[in-house]
């Protein structure tokens, strides 16, 4: 889809995508106008109150606001339930416009109490209008969109604030503080137009938005229900705590600021002009901070650091009061208030909105109203009571008031640390594991070795009683012979010369030989077999017998060789007879080889390793050779790595080795396999990555060398970029579209490898959760997956990976990949 000039312009600065440009622009202006009005109303509020009621009475204003807001939240909740969102917001705006005219008339009477009423009213206006704005945003966009657009929208608010403050600063002296109010109704009327226009636009552009809107209209909100909701939700409780701590600190700072301002500027209009100028500078600073830092901080350092920045700077500021001489307190006041407000307008606001993202939309809506309108004001009231207690009753000085602020800043920091942990947990809870790892599933559910042995036993029954006895003996040693299995194995036992095994199976079959009173226990049997095999005479006899068997070439000799191969595996590795196994490993019969390979695995003698490795290149012996090599364990991982890394070796053989190393599964095996990744051998890359992944799945305690893994991740990401770019080129040519299908599979495989590698160095389950939800989840689970990755991955990896998985049109994806590829290549060159 072609981009409009407006979108082209916006996309240079913000991540605004096609389909959302109109609503985003309108909401930008809506927020601009709301904050512009607020910043005209605000200097008037402070200046008039300080003039008519003096700063010592400020705590009463804070307290009254808190009490009235409590009532207003209830009213607001009822109206939200009873009315359509668009209608409710429109009526609120009309109500505020009318109020502004009334206040303008009342101000003429110079009644002191009007400044108290106006103070409370202006707080209601600001909180209501800003909350309504964010509720609208949450209705229109999904969490991921909000995260992308929040920077753009907050810019609108900050610019509006600057404009409002400038108006107050320039017009206060010329038209007077009270008349400033008459600017606001016009701006609020424009908001009214926008709300109605956006509502219509939403219906046209997307049915989903209105659906979501309809859904959100249903829930009934009551105080007690909202409180119950919050009480049950740890995340929301922490969020409340943060809001309370933050607002108490802000109230204390605001009180200190106003106290100093009143003593510095005695004339009302000069004070209003100063406040206008102060807010202008403050907002410009906030805006710059927001544009240049908020997203960068969030992107580079994540939500945890972003949450800690505001309390950290306020802590420094609050401590700094003890260093300022009395004559320079205005600078301290401007500094601390500036720090508090600039960070509140930029970073804190954005981060706080992000904290709502993983909450269920219905709960989010109820909680947001409750926190923004009730908890917020409760905190303000609590702050006011603290001021009354410490300043009015205990006679604390301005400087001493900072001690209380410092205590609350510490509480704030602790709560911020707790909520970041909770935030990631909630994102994880929103992502289900979509499917179980097949390898792991089979490993857990089926004993493959046992199954194989049962089959071998059954098969050998028809061929040789000796082989049958040996296999049965193996089964017994494993102590896994269930009654059912005994029945299966003994079926038709009278047909072969194996009825002696009935006693082993404890069955009542026919006996071949006369009964004797040998009641050997299984353990005793095993011990006796071992003892016999260690006898010199036995070794001598077997040596002769096996030599004879190996030299035979008849068809019957095959079974004898199988028996010989099997019996060799039961001997001690130190036995001189076992060398004969080398001959049997080279036999032409696959059956003989099968038994010989198994025996080699039992004996674990190094002399057989080269022969076993060669069997990896043959399809019919690959599996058993792998299993035998696994039996050797960690001691042969070095040898296996040499074969794996040798490009002259048979490729099939090399490809089989990573899986053997996985099955060996020791830390040393993991280290060696990881080192092999460094060689960037594309022939066996897939097998190595998959083996490493399986290793981590099976043994989460294994550690992998981060540097090598990260380098490989970047390498696979680059490969994926190239595939995606090539796909994009092919898709633009109609004749070659079919070729893109193959590349799509390659891309999917590469993406899988990226996540498999990431699971080695980041929380395994989280990475798999994110990957599975990206592959087959809904749009919402994709958003949560990206959010989770955003919180756990290192910045460089996150930046490189997101262009591949982000939910954007394919054309944009290809463009972003191409851009990122160049960045990565430049970084490599540097």
């Amino acid at each position: 889809m072609a981009k409009s000039p407006v979108q082209k312009f916006l996309s240079k600065f913000f991540d605004v995508r096609s389909g959302e440009t109109s609503t985003a622009l309108l909401m930008f202006f809506y927020f601009f106008l709301i904050t512009s009005s607020a910043y005209v109303i605000k200097p008037v509020k402070i200046s008039l109150y300080l003039e008519w009621l003096k700063p010592k009475n400020l705590p009463y204003a804070y307290l009254l606001t808190a009490l009235v807001i409590g009532f207003f939240v209830t009213l607001n909740s009822k109206l939200l339930q009873a009315m359509k969102r668009q209608l409710y917001i429109s009526l609120s705006l009309v109500f505020f416009i009318l109020n502004l005219f009334i206040f303008w008339l009342l101000f003429k009477q110079q009644w002191a109490w009007v400044s108290m009423v106006y103070w409370v009213w202006s707080d209601i206006f600001m909180i209501t209008s800003v909350t309504q704005f964010w509720i609208l945003i949450n209705d229109i966009y999904n969490p991921r969109q909000v995260k992308r657009l929040v920077g753009f929208l907050v810019s609108g608010g900050l610019l509006g604030g600057i404009e409002g403050s400038l108006l107050a600063a320039f017009l206060a002296r010329s038209i007077g503080t009270e008349k400033l109010l008459l600017i606001c109704p016009l701006m609020l009327f424009l908001c009214l137009v926008i709300v109605n226009f956006v509502s219509r636009l939403q219906k046209v552009e997307s049915g989903e938005g209105t659906e979501a809107l309809k859904k959100l209209k249903k829930p009934k909100i009551t105080y007690s229900k909202s409180f119950q909701l919050l009480r049950k939700n740890r995340h929301l409780m922490l969020l409340c705590g943060i809001v309370v701590a933050g607002i108490v600190v802000t109230t204390l700072v605001d009180f200190q600021f106003n106290l100093i301002i009143e003593s510095q500027y005695e004339d009302q209009n000069t004070r209003t002009a100063f406040l206008g100028t102060f807010f202008t500078i403050l907002l410009i600073f906030s805006y710059l901070l927001h544009v240049f830092s908020t997203n960068r901080i969030l992107k580079n350092f994540g939500i945890r650091t972003a949450l800690l920045i505001t309390p950290f700077f306020l802590l420094i500021g609050s401590m700094a009061i003890f260093l300022f001489p009395l004559g320079y307190m205005i600078y301290w006041a401007a500094l601390i208030k500036g720090t508090d407000k600039s960070l509140a307008h930029s970073l804190s606001q954005s981060v706080r909105e992000l904290l709502y993202i993983p909450i269920n939309p219905e709960i989010k809506y109820k909680a947001k109203v409750f926190i923004d309108m009730f908890v917020n004001k409760f905190a303000k009231g609590f702050g006011a009571l603290l001021i009354l207690l410490f300043f009015s009753v205990l006679q604390f000085t301005i400087k001493q008031m900072s001690f209380i602020a410092i205590v609350f800043i510490f509480v704030w920091i602790v709560l911020n640390l707790l909520i970041t942990r909770e935030y990631v947990n909630i994102v994880k809870r929103n992502l289900e594991i979509k499917w179980q790892d097949a390898d792991k599933f089979i490993r857990e559910k089926i004993d493959i070795d046992m199954t194989k042995l049962v089959f071998d036993t059954l098969q050998s029954k028809k061929r040789s009683s000796v082989l049958y006895a040996m296999n049965l003996f193996d089964l017994l040693k494993k102590e896994k012979l269930s009654p059912e299995l005994k029945k299966i194995i003994s079926y038709k036992s009278d047909e072969v010369l194996a009825s002696s095994m009935d006693s082993l199976l404890e069955l009542d079959g026919e006996t071949l030989l006369p009964e004797a009173d040998d009641s050997l226990e299984d353990e005793a049997l095993d011990a006796q077999v071992k003892e016999i095999m260690s006898l010199d005479v036995y070794q001598q006899l077997m040596n002769e017998h096996i030599d004879k068997v190996i030299s035979e070439e008849s068809q019957e000799a095959e079974i004898s060789k199988m028996e010989a191969a099997k019996v060799l595996g039961m001997m001690e590795p130190s036995s001189s007879v076992i060398h004969s196994l080398s001959q049997l490993l080279k036999d032409e019969s696959p059956e003989v080889i099968r038994y010989a390979v198994e025996s080699a695995g039992n004996l674990k003698s190094r002399e057989f390793v080269p022969l076993l490795v060669q069997h990896l290149s043959q399809p019919r012996t690959e599996r058993i050779a792998s299993k035998a090599l696994v039996e050797y364990g960690s001691k042969i991982t070095g040898t296996l790595k040499d074969y794996l890394g040798d490009p002259d070796e048979d490729l099939r053989l090399r490809k089989a080795i990573p899986d053997i190393i996985f099955q060996i599964g020791t830390q040393r095996a993991a280290n060696l396999l990881t080192l092999e990744l460094r060689k960037k051998s594309r022939d066996v890359e897939t097998e190595i990555i998959e083996a490493l992944y399986k290793m981590k799945s099976k043994k989460p305690q294994l550690r992998f060398q981060r540097k090598i893994i990260l380098s490989e991740v970047i390498s696979v990401i680059k490969k994926s970029y190239l595939i995606l770019i090539e796909m994009h080129d092919l898709m633009s040519d109609e004749k070659k579209v079919y070729l893109a299908k193959d590349l799509e599979n390659n891309l999917a495989r590469s993406l899988k490898h990226i996540f498999e590698l990431l699971s080695l160095i980041y929380p395994h389950d989280d990475i798999i959760r994110a990957y599975q939800n990206i592959c087959s989840g809904t749009k919402e689970s994709l958003d949560y997956s990206i959010e989770l990755l955003d919180n756990i991955l290192k910045r460089e990896i996150k930046e490189a990976l997101l262009p591949l998985i982000d939910d954007v049109p394919f054309e944009d994806k290809a463009r972003r990949c191409s851009k990122m590829l160049k960045t990565l290549e430049k970084a490599e060159l540097a």
């Binding site: 009825s499 049997l525 016999i532 006898l535 005479v537 036995y538 006899l541």
Partner: protein
């Protein structure tokens, strides 16, 4: 362990009774008795295990040593009436492929004639 020897159709038959175990070894072992017979020129030996209650690895060693001694002199050593469990052990250790084992004495004796 008690061992008695008798001869039938040019075959020396050792009837073994009781338990053959390392702890019960007396001055004369089965192998020694077989060697004594071999020294007298006998080459066909049959070990009858009908009344053997238990045999340990030492006992098996005695059988195998006797087999080797007989075999090295061009003779034949065969076994009759061993228990199911011992037969199983012989199967597991592949000794059934080396030793000739029979269900009863008569069949074993017939096999000597056939040889």
């Amino acid at each position: 362990m008690e061992i008695s020897a008798r001869e039938k159709s040019d075959v020396i038959i050792f009837d073994i009774e009781g338990e053959i175990r390392r702890s019960d070894v007396s001055d004369v072992t089965l192998h020694q008795l077989v060697k004594d017979q071999l020294d007298t020129g006998k080459r066909n030996i049959l070990l009858n295990f009908k009344n053997v209650e238990f045999i340990d690895s030492f006992g098996v060693g005695e059988i195998l040593a006797s087999y080797i001694s007989t075999h090295n002199l061009g003779g034949k050593l065969k076994i009759a009436k061993i228990s199911k469990k011992l037969y199983l052990i012989f199967q597991v250790t592949m000794l059934t492929k080396v030793l000739e084992i029979f269900e009863d004495e008569e069949v074993a004796l017939e096999s000597f004639i056939k040889d």
